[in-house]
Every structure is written in structure tokens, then in C-alpha cells.
Amino acid sequence: MLRSFLDYYRATILRQTEGLDAVQLATPLPPTTMTLGGVLKHLTWVESWWFRRVLNGLPEPAWVGDGFAADPDWEWTSAKDDTWELLVSRYREVVAECDAILDAALATPEGLDLLAQRPRHGSYASVRWILVHLVEEYARHAGHADLIREAIDGRTDL
């Protein structure tokens, strides 16, 4: 059930960002500086962070590079330099990798109670916590995307 809610929001964020050109994907709804391209790249990084880096203890993926060295909001601000095709293809690759990590975690005897390899504030999150967290993180950003998208072309309920 947790995975089906996560998959629902993965599909939602793609619906909210598709059919737009590069300028629209880089258009904020002031006063916030968030953009739809930024939301998509942020969630790509969020998936990678929780499954690759926290759950499995792996380093940042190659596509991140040293982006965060100069800009703590790198994934948000750099999205304007990526095409929609690149943003989506990278997103799909990262989601596939994260699903494989999740499959392996859920196949362990601990399942949803399996603890992450990297601590958060000194404690270790369970796979269950990570999944519920991702659902609510996606949903909150989908809320941001709702208002940004409506301002761009009037589309709602995507």
C-alpha cells in the first residue's frame, strides 16, 4: 500500500510537469522561487538521497557531481539548464534504481522494519519511515506544483 501511494505521486509529478516548454518549466510563481523543473529535479535528488545514500549508504550519483559545493540549492537552481527530456529521463533512471534498492530491502527478513545504513540526527530510519516520508514529501511538492502549474497555463487537478 505504501508503494502504491508513492507510485501514485511519482506519476502525479510527471503529469504536473509534462507538456511544457523550457521557459514554462523555469517559470516561478513569485514570491517563491520554486519552478516545476526545479520540483522535478529536487524530487529526483530526494529519491536518490533516501534510497541510495541513506538506506544503502552509497555516495551521491555521478549526475550530481560537485553541484552542491557552490550552491546548497543546486538541484533547484540548475534545473533551468536541463531540457525536459533530460530531466525526465534522469528521473526515470533514478526511480528504477530506487525501486531495485527498495525491492532488495523488502526482501530482507526485516522488511519495512529494516534500518537505513546512514543515520539521521544520530538515529536510523526504517524503510517504513522512509516510504511514508517520501509520500508526504512528494504530496507537499505536488501542492506547490498545483499552484505553479495553474499560474502557467491554468491546468488544475493533474
Binding site: M1, F5, Y124, S126, W129, A142, G143, D146, L147
Partner: protein, 177 residues
């Protein structure tokens, strides 16, 4: 901010994890709407017609709908909904909030959340998260488990808190999780 909020425990049982996230998002909505007057709670961020006051009333309606009406089967509207309100305006809870004082909106929100929590408590004392709703899904004809309803309410609250993030920043510049 007056409302204290607790981060959900990192490694807890299913029921404790779900309830902690539901509480977290209710508290987040309280924080996003705190310290504002009636005009600020009624302010829109065009082209959206949503308001922070409307979100409070909508969240209360959702808590009442899912936990008291669908899950426990109560057939009547809550006492704060006037007879026939939705016949004239299907978005009544969103549009009527501008006529309510901040204190009234918070009272509706808090009392409904408490009633929803009491419904959860009653179910957990019996069959836990597998307890099925009295009212079935209109689309599929099958009942909802309490597990599904709580998870749905977490994502529903979270999405509306995303709206609230945008609205609050536009009202007075305040941001944050």
C-alpha cells in the same frame, strides 16, 4: 509559533508511524495559518482561488468525511455545515471560510481533528488498521481499511500544506517546513 510539532519517530510500528505523520501534518497546517487575521486568511494568490482559511475548513471537512462519515458511517453533515450549503456551492467550505473568524476556523479544525482521532482510537481498540469502513467506496463498491484512510489523509494534508506554503509566503513572506 505557538503550535509545537513533533517529528515522526524514525523506527516505529506501522500504526505509530502513520498516526505521527497525520499529527505532524495537522500541526503543520496549524502553524501555516497561525498569527494571521481574517483578511490574511482570506487572501488569494491568483490565479488560484484557494485561501489559508479555506484550507483549514476544507481539512476539517475531510477529517470529518473520512473518519466520521465514511469510516464510522455517520450519515449527517457536521453541525457547522448549514443545511443545504453544498447544494448552492459545491466548494462551500472553501468559499465560506472568509466569513468565519480565525478563532472559529481553528475551533472547527481542532474539534474535528479530535473527533477523527477518537474514531481512530475506537477502531484500534478492536481490529486495528485492518478495520474496514462502514461506507464503501462509491467507485469500487468495497470498503476502505483504516490503514488506507490514514495514509490518504497524510498525503491529502501534505498536498494542502504545499498549497499553504505558497499562500503563506505570499501573505507575509513566512516560509519553512
Amino acid at each position: 509559533m505557538a503550535t509545537q510539532r513533533t517529528d515522526p519517530p524514525l523506527a516505529a510500528s506501522e500504526v505509530d508511524t502513520l498516526r505521527a505523520y497525520l499529527a505532524y501534518h495537522r500541526d503543520t497546517m496549524r502553524r501555516k495559518t497561525e498569527g494571521l487575521d481574517q483578511a490574511q486568511l482570506s487572501q488569494v494568490h491568483p490565479p488560484s482561488t484557494l485561501t489559508l482559511g479555506g484550507l483549514l475548513k476544507h481539512a476539517a471537512l475531510n477529517d470529518d468525511w473520512w473518519f466520521c462519515r465514511v469510516f464510522e458511517g455517520r450519515e449527517t453533515e457536521p453541525d457547522w455545515v448549514p443545511a443545504g450549503a453544498f447544494d448552492e456551492d459545491e466548494d462551500w467550505e472553501l468559499s465560506s471560510a472568509r466569513d468565519d473568524s480565525p478563532a472559529e476556523l481553528r475551533r472547527i479544525f481542532d474539534e474535528t481533528a479530535a473527533a477523527a482521532d477518537a474514531a481512530i482510537d475506537r477502531a484500534l481498540a478492536k481490529d486495528g488498521l485492518d478495520t474496514l469502513s462502514v461506507t464503501p467506496s462509491r467507485r469500487e463498491g468495497t470498503p476502505f481499511s483504516l490503514r488506507w484512510i490514514i495514509l490518504h489523509m497524510i498525503e491529502e494534508y501534505a498536498r494542502h500544506n504545499g498549497h499553504a506554503d505558497m499562500l503563506r509566503e505570499a501573505v507575509d513572506g513566512q516560509v519553512g517546513e
